[in-house]
């Protein structure tokens, strides 16, 4: 089982959009895929038309009072299941800390929890909320690859560097970072410049850029992954390339 987190400390950069589309493509290629929507806002859950509710809430899940399997929901797509968001995920930080105290265990609890599903899935995507919290640290530590959507600006790059530094400080297993340009706007010269130069200069930055298109925004209207209703969109093509890169990196 390979674990991929879609993460950026910033909000609104395309984490959920990437996680949903890539999970869909992974399942379509025959991999048993799970998407865990860790964001209490439940954007990914909404996109799959699933009700944002986990019986017993996140606390019970983290304390292992309820099996993780009981919370799973099949999506409309073969081979793709969802672990939905729940409002109680707001307290997930506290729940994680509460269950494991201040020990390092608290930052590895999610990974261990996912271990229960190791035989059932080939790939797990984690859609994370925009924050640097115990939940996101858990997601980072559990992952084989961290997918980082970045908007091609200088400031965004700084946050990416900070993330790289943070992950570098992990002892033991470290995930690989894989950044890509999200919402790239070819009309902006700065975007063009950064996209053209950066992947050659820095490690872990994909040459693939997902163009900013209203078709992508429409996902919330269709409540479906982009390839389902816009198979020929340039953005769909970009997610395809991204998935190929990811599958290679994760060895999935």
């Amino acid at each position: 089982m390979r674990i991929v987190a879609s993460y950026n400390v910033k909000g609104g950069v395309g984490k959920t959009t990437a996680a949903v589309n890539l999970a869909y493509l992974s399942a379509r290629e025959g991999r048993r895929t799970l998407l865990w929507d860790l964001d209490p806002q439940g954007a990914a859950t909404f996109l799959f038309r699933v009700k944002p509710r986990v019986k017993g809430g996140g606390g019970r899940l983290v304390r292992r009072e309820r099996p993780i399997g009981a919370a799973l929901k099949a999506t409309d797509f073969t081979g793709l299941d969802l672990l939905p968001a729940d409002v109680t995920y707001r307290n997930l930080d506290l729940d994680l800390a509460g269950a494991h105290g201040r020990s390092t265990k608290a930052s590895r609890a999610l990974g261990r929890l996912l271990g229960e599903l190791a035989d059932d899935y080939d790939v797990v995507f984690l859609d994370t909320p925009p924050s640097l919290s115990l939940v996101s640290e858990n997601a980072l530590r559990a992952s084989d690859v961290v997918l980082v959507p970045i908007i091609p600006t200088v400031l965004a790059l700084r946050t990416y560097d900070q993330l790289a530094e943070f992950v570098d400080g992990f002892d033991g297993r470290r995930p690989r970072l894989h950044a890509f340009f999200s919402m790239a706007d070819r009309r902006k010269s700065l975007h063009r410049e950064i996209i053209a130069s950066l992947p050659g200069e820095r490690d872990g930055i994909s040459p693939t850029a997902v163009p900013a298109l209203s078709q992508v925004e429409q996902m919330a209207v269709h409540r479906a992954p982009l390839p389902v209703y816009a198979p020929d969109s340039p953005a769909t093509r970009a997610y395809h390339s991204l998935w190929t890169e990811l599958a290679g990196l994760a060895g999935a």
């Binding site: 799959f48 038309r49 699933v50 009700k51 919370a71 929901k73 099949a74 409309d76 299941d81 409540r223």
Partner: protein, 502 residues
């Protein structure tokens, strides 16, 4: 379809139908339902004009094989494409051919049940099978409710709604079973009534003989069409059983009936022998070739070709015989004569004061056991082969008599007695096989020599090796026979055969 499924949706859900696919489905089995008895279902599916796909269910995971070219039915295992499906079938099919047992048109379609968010919460598989062969049937419909992970409640609700509606009820059988029932095909052959202890002896014998005659007739088409080698084998077993029973108990039947037909069964035995012998060789050849020590597997190829040619010749004579007036008259006359006895009015049976089946069986079995025992006791390590062969034939007669008497015997006593006898028969069979086969190889070799396309020396050498193996087999059997006879003649066996007698 959507209309029929409407109750599933109720007011809570909406339905959305997927694409329908139509296929021609042919269900296959051997004539003796070997697949069915093992819980296997083999079907051929074809969408349009392509060769189609074979699917096998019942081996755990379903397996399928795409056919590169159409297969003509009936087909034996070697006619099916290599692969997992064939491996899954090989044991069950054995040497028998599979042929269509029923055919129909299958329309499948998936429907999704959506909740108020437009989320699929249940999937329904609709399957509609309309039989076309051997007879047309009404459409048979099955709906399978496929629950989705995390939506069990919805599946339960939909299932309940379907059950409560007019058109649906829980299915107790599969579509295949329903189709078989609809076309009136039963897996159980229509058996004659078993004989019973109180039956008049002649009625019992005639009933048994009628059963054998049915078997002979039932297997003729399969022999003529060369569907598989078991048709001939089964036919021959029925002929042998008939001959044995005529010999051992035919005296209770009208003399004229027996005198007129008995020679016909000898003829039938003789006319079927050459083909059966060649069948046995061809069936065994692969294994024999694999066991060669000095020779190579392919050395035997010219021998196989020779056998094949001989078999074709033998079959021509056989088919001619089975299509002859002599054959038809033999079976017709025999069957109607026997039927006259077996189906005699109850009142006539009652008024009779003749021998009952119980007495007949007891008397004949006792006599036969005594006969076999006497011959067995007379065999020493130095006895000539003829005596051993004679014992083998008597054992076979005892076996057939036992099988005839089976319905009147105590079940466990019968099984024990049969087991004892079988052990002895196996060794006697090996003895016979070894001798016959090595002698036959000599004849084959001579004939091949006479053929203008003389066989390579390597072939004859390999055949020599086989011949030596058969001689060894016979020697071994002769050696094992002493101990086997000791066991057979021991007190245990005697006790058992006493317990058996009705």
């Amino acid at each position: 379809m959507l209309g029929a499924l409407n109750p599933a949706a109720g007011t809570r859900y909406t339905l959305s139908a997927g694409q329908a696919t139509t296929r021609t489905v042919t269900y296959l089995d051997t004539v003796d339902w070997r697949l069915r008895r093992k819980g296997l279902v083999l079907r051929h599916e074809r969408a349009t004009s392509e060769a189609g796909t074979l699917r096998l269910d019942g081996t755990g995971d379903a397996v399928s094989a795409t056919l590169p070219s159409p297969v003509a039915w009936p087909a034996r295992i070697e006619h099916l494409p290599d692969g997992e499906l064939r491996d899954g079938l090989a044991d069950a099919m054995w040497v028998r051919a599979v042929a269509p047992v029923a055919k129909g048109r299958l329309v499948t379609r998936e429907a999704a049940v959506l909740n108020e968010d437009g989320k699929i919460v249940v999937r329904l598989d609709w399957a509609e099978l309309t039989g076309s062969e051997p007879v047309r049937t009404e459409p048979l419909v099955r709906v399978t409710v496929r629950p989705l992970l995390g939506y069990r409640r919805d599946a339960e609700r939909v299932t309940r709604a379907l059950r409560d509606s007019e058109g649906f009820e829980p299915a107790e059988d599969t579509l295949y079973q329903a189709l078989l029932a609809a076309v009136g095909s039963t897996a159980e052959a229509i058996a004659r009534p078993a004989i019973s202890a109180d039956m008049p002896a002649d009625v019992a014998v005639a009933t048994a003989l009628l059963g054998f005659a049915d078997t002979i007739v039932d297997n003729v088409d399969g022999v003529v069409d060369d569907v598989d080698t078991e048709f001939l084998h089964d036919l021959r077993v029925a002929v042998r059983r008939s001959r044995s029973l005529i010999k051992l108990a035919g005296d209770v039947l009208p003399e004229r009936l027996v005198a007129r037909h008995a020679p016909g069964f000898k003829w039938l035995g003789d006319v079927t022998t050459p083909t059966r012998d060649l069948d046995v060789y061809l069936l065994e050849l692969e294994e024999l070739a694999a066991g060669l020590v000095a020779g190579e597997r392919q050395d035997l190829e010219p021998f196989a070709e020779h056998l094949d040619r001989e078999r074709r010749k033998a079959r021509r004579a056989l088919v001619r015989a089975l299509r002859s007036q002599r054959f038809t008259r033999l079976l017709d006359g025999w069957r109607s004569g026997l039927a006259g006895i077996a189906e005699r009015e109850e009142s006539e049976k009652d008024s009779e004061r003749g021998l009952a089946a119980r007495e007949l069986v007891a008397g004949r079995l006792r006599r036969m056991v005594k006969k076999v025992t006497r011959r067995a006791q007379a065999i020493t390590p130095d006895s000539p082969s003829e005596d051993v062969h004679d014992l083998r034939k008597r054992c076979k007669e005892l076996r057939y008599l036992l099988e005839f008497a089976k319905p009147l015997c105590d079940e466990s006593a019968f099984r024990a007695a049969l087991k004892d006898l079988k052990k002895l028969q196996d060794i006697l069979g090996d003895f016979q096989d070894g001798e016959v086969q090595s002698a036959a190889l000599r004849v084959f070799a001579e004939r091949m020599q006479e053929d203008p396309s003389r066989p390579p020396a390597a072939t004859l050498l390999a055949m020599g090796e086989l011949s030596a193996r058969f001689v060894t087999l016979q020697r071994q059997a002769r050696h094992d026979l002493t101990a086997a006879l000791e066991r057979f003649l021991g007190p245990d066996t005697q006790v058992r055969s006493e317990a058996l007698l009705p």
